[in-house]
Amino acid sequence: MYVAVKGGERAIDNAHAWLAEERRGDPTVPELSIAQIREQLALAVNRVMAEGSLYDPDLAALAIKQSRGDMIEAIFLIRAYRTTLPRLGHSEPVNTDAMTCDRRISATFKDAPGGQVLGPTFDYTHRLLDFKLAADGETPEPPVAEPRDEETPHISGFLGREGLIQDEIQSDETPRDLTREPLELPASRALRLQALSRGDEGFILGMAYSTQRGYGRNHPFVGELRIGTVAVEMDIPELGFAIEIGEMTLTECETVNQFTGSKTEPPQFTRGYGLVFGQSERKAISMALVDRALRWKELGEDDAGVPAQDEEFVLYHSDNIQATGFLEHIKLPHYVDFQSELELIRRLRKEAAAGRQAQEAAE
């Protein structure tokens, strides 16, 4: 006879114990340290910080270790931890004009003040597996140059001086905070940018790519891509002025988009904007393309009815923690719902069969 399954509790404990063992892997292989992950898997750490919305490389590295390298799981750990942190205040807006750039390129001008600085990029590597790395990861001393002292001005500023690029609306209004208030539509651009910045890299990439392939094409050029460190300053009420409380690495992308004008706007260049924690340039460029696509209303462009123009579609589906949770919840028991469906299908089938029989008898 059937005995109702008890022991969910023990099954869970045992599953957790097994998971811990699997996470560690073969115990004869040395364990990964947080520092190793932070230093040698830095781009993974960057992604976890960006989509986790928490700038802390050590915690991100810990999350990657704990999640066995599952990036979305690591992002989830950081988000859940973030929930418990008190909000002490907020920083001054970071000034990316004053960024100490490790990398700064423009696809629109051959040269500009500040120069083209490739920095640590995969761009021109040949994607050949380096078998030497399997044996020995030590690298020779790289050449060193003198750092530039002066600020690196934004490329878009040069276009702005000529009035060729759309002026952004300046505002000192404190933008709403996506993590503290429910998302309500229509969303301001600041809110959309927040959502894109923490949105899933793959989703934002797919959306951006779709605009390039014709689903809301917006003719982007990478006006500028810069990666480097900026100072984070916070106003301390007791002091009455802002002091530097730390620095962070950011990737910023500004696209320059061709625009032939609309009913409301003259022909000019327009912008898409991307800003992401850490070195995350695929994400920053994707973000800029999607940002530009979402600005169709404000620029008086036509609604092409494409996914990347649909603010509700993009914002409601970009968060991978929401998406993965809801997707994976279908693993949970649904026998009550399924039972009611079973009853329904059986009844409908019975009625259909009875109807057929009655019809045959009549014929």
Binding site: G7, E181, P182, E312, I321, V336, E343, L348
Partner: protein, 290 residues
């Protein structure tokens, strides 16, 4: 776990959630947006219910969690453990002894009483969502009380199948105003929503919505005069406790597809067996046995 506040969430967040709950109670059936937080369990696994519970729980409460009607399903165990760890409250499986019951997909068979709170986990709070995917549109439809689309859908069901082909998450109308999704409970449970002495709170974490039914609210399942609502269930009695009134799970018991039917509400079934009731395949009840 001392590093965390009582019931995990900080007091500011709880206050924000309580405000949403109070607003929900003031406008029964209306979906109140709230700033849902990331919880340490995934969205879709009851984060809305967990946040509502965290905001309503007090140290004196006795807490019960059910999933599919059962106290011992894995996610119910996980949520109960979470509040044991973070709030240290007493827990129970006894529906009558609980002051707060968090549920997924069922309303307990034992009638609820004044002073109890039933917290529902809600995946998609919008009853019109599968008719209209846009939130902007559906909010407009609610504010204009524009529910024609829903009636057309139910009518199309009848013309196609001879019956309304919705068996769970069956839409209801609250106090003649808002059409509400009762969460994916089987329609068998729908009549229990109405005129209930307990407070009923609905939390949808991922969708950032809270809604509520104050005690003794009138809740009507949508239907037509010539096709009245029918809260059907399996045409069997529980094989363990013999109840002919409770909602049943169907269990496959052998390789030939043999079936038995048992109460989905494990506490109800246990209590009946303890009181000496026995079904077709039941054995005399022993304390502590499954």
């Amino acid at each position: 776990m001392n590093a965390y506040n009582f019931a995990y969430l900080d007091e500011q967040t709880k206050r924000m959630i309580r405000r949403a709950i109070l607003k929900g109670l003031a406008i029964p059936g209306y979906q109140v947006p709230f700033a849902s937080r990331e919880m340490p369990m995934p969205y879709g696994w009851g984060t809305g219910g967990v946040q509502v519970t965290a905001a309503t729980l007090t140290p004196d409460d006795t807490f019960k969690v059910i999933d599919q009607g059962a106290d011992d399903t894995t996610n119910a165990v996980s949520i109960r453990k979470f509040f044991e760890r973070t709030a240290g409250v007493a827990t129970t499986e006894d529906t009558g002894k609980a002051t707060i019951i968090q549920t997924r997909h069922r309303i307990p068979e034992t009638p609820l009483t004044e002073g109890q709170i039933l917290v529902y986990q809600v995946p998609i709070p919008e009853p019109l969502r599968f008719l209209e995917p846009s939130e902007v549109e559906t909010r407009k439809m609610h504010s204009l009380e524009e529910y024609g689309l829903m009636h057309v859908k139910l009518y199309e069901d009848i013309s196609k199948h001879g019956a309304i082909a919705t068996s769970y998450a069956y839409p209801v109308k609250v106090e003649d105003r808002y059409v509400m999704d009762p969460s994916p409970i089987p329609k068998f449970d729908n009549p229990k929503l109405s005129n209930c002495p307990a407070i009923q709170l609905f939390g949808a974490g991922r969708e950032q919505r809270i809604y509520a039914l104050p005690p003794y609210t009138r809740v009507v399942s949508l239907d037509f005069e010539d096709h009245p609502f029918d809260p059907s269930k399996a045409d069997h009695c529980c094989d363990l406790c013999g109840s002919g009134e409770s909602y049943l799970d169907e269990v496959i018991v052998d390789d030939d597809g043999g079936r038995m039917f048992v109460c989905s509400d494990t506490d109800y079934c246990r209590a009946r067996r303890a009181a000496g009731h026995m079904g077709a395949q039941g054995v005399p009840y022993e304390e502590g046995a499954a």
